[in-house]
Symmetry: C2
């Protein structure tokens, strides 16, 4: 089975990116990261790319001030590299609708809550965990899903829960959730690269 | 520590009621069920009451056609029996606002999802699990919470998750969720009866 060509889109430190790199280097994932695209010039994820000999690109407001041009440049890159799978690993931009349509069920995102709780517009980064604490739920978690035109509304691939403890801070929850993100994102990528994810309506079936 | 006087409000078969009766009879809960009130005359829960020598009452549309009178009769009963804790165990009626105000943080409900997912108006019984299947989430669960004026919006006491498997039916999910309802509802009641639940804003702290 030939390897799946992967592009990872990032905006920040890229610990989820690192978890995928590690699993690929360990031979657990039948894929190859062809390019890492960052929306921020100084994202540490670009340093990670360099360290691991992966092509890193900055495509952002400084070098492409016009949104349409920026999206075109990303789309061209994906086509040039013959990308099969796009992974959003803390990518803080809304994807172009064209791209979402073109890569239907081939764009994977990770969200730091148990969707459909604490997701959608306004729920990103720490804001998610702040809302979790404020609501007072006892469980939260992370969700890997395919990206559709909505915000965090696409078919769910994997979910895992963690406890919210009585005296947790936002940082405690963030750390605990990140731990499981690093489990379920590489696992979802692995399953995708083995051709085991089948989307039936809104349900994602894992084929044996 | 004197025993907590409990009223259980039901509408149906009462397997959650049974789980509480069992834990009380086993000596795990420092409480006594003084009355079981059913909104349906033929609810099997009333048979359970009889079997266990607990007073059972039908207060419903047939004997109290007027809603206001019905609510008054329930409230009077709670006062007569000096009830400290009200448990809604599959009670299919909206509680009177008066009662909710009077028994603030002393009414416990169980909901068959991970609140705030799949809860609120229209989400009851099988409808919850149908929505879970339709959405395609991989985790669902149950939530025990205090009742406030909203629908399923009160402070969360306990939550536990269960998997949704690839070929699950609504019945499969209902059965799996009911299994954990029978764990977390008696546990929440036990903690309440030991005076260990402290409500701080929307958060419920379990004191050691």
């Amino acid at each position: 089975m030939s390897k799946i060509n992967i592009a990872v889109l990032v905006s920040g430190g890229g610990t989820n990116l690192q978890s995928i790199i590690d699993h690929i280097e360990a031979g657990n994932i039948n894929g190859k990261i062809k390019v890492i695209i960052s929306s921020k010039q100084d994202a540490y994820a670009l340093k990670r790319a360099e360290k691991h000999g992966i092509e890193g690109m900055y495509i952002g407001k400084e070098n492409f001030p016009n949104l349409k041009e920026r999206n075109s440049r990303i789309l061209e890159t994906l086509e040039e590299k013959e990308i099969d799978l796009i992974i959003l690993a803390g990518y803080m931009r809304i994807l172009d609708e064209n791209m979402v349509g073109k890569y239907k069920n081939r764009i994977i995102n990770i969200h730091p809550s148990l969707i459909p709780s604490f997701c959608g517009k306004g729920f990103y980064g720490k804001k998610v965990h702040e809302a979790v604490l404020k609501y007072g739920v006892k469980l939260t978690g992370a969700t890997v899903h395919f990206v559709d035109k909505g915000t965090d509304t696409g078919p769910v691939i994997l979910q895992k829960s963690v406890e919210v403890k009585d005296h947790d801070t936002v940082e405690d929850i963030a750390k605990r959730v990140l731990g499981i993100e690093h489990e379920i994102l590489p696992l979802a990528v692995k399953l995708f690269c083995e051709g085991k994810l089948k989307v039936v309506g809104r349900r994602v079936i894992v084929e044996k």
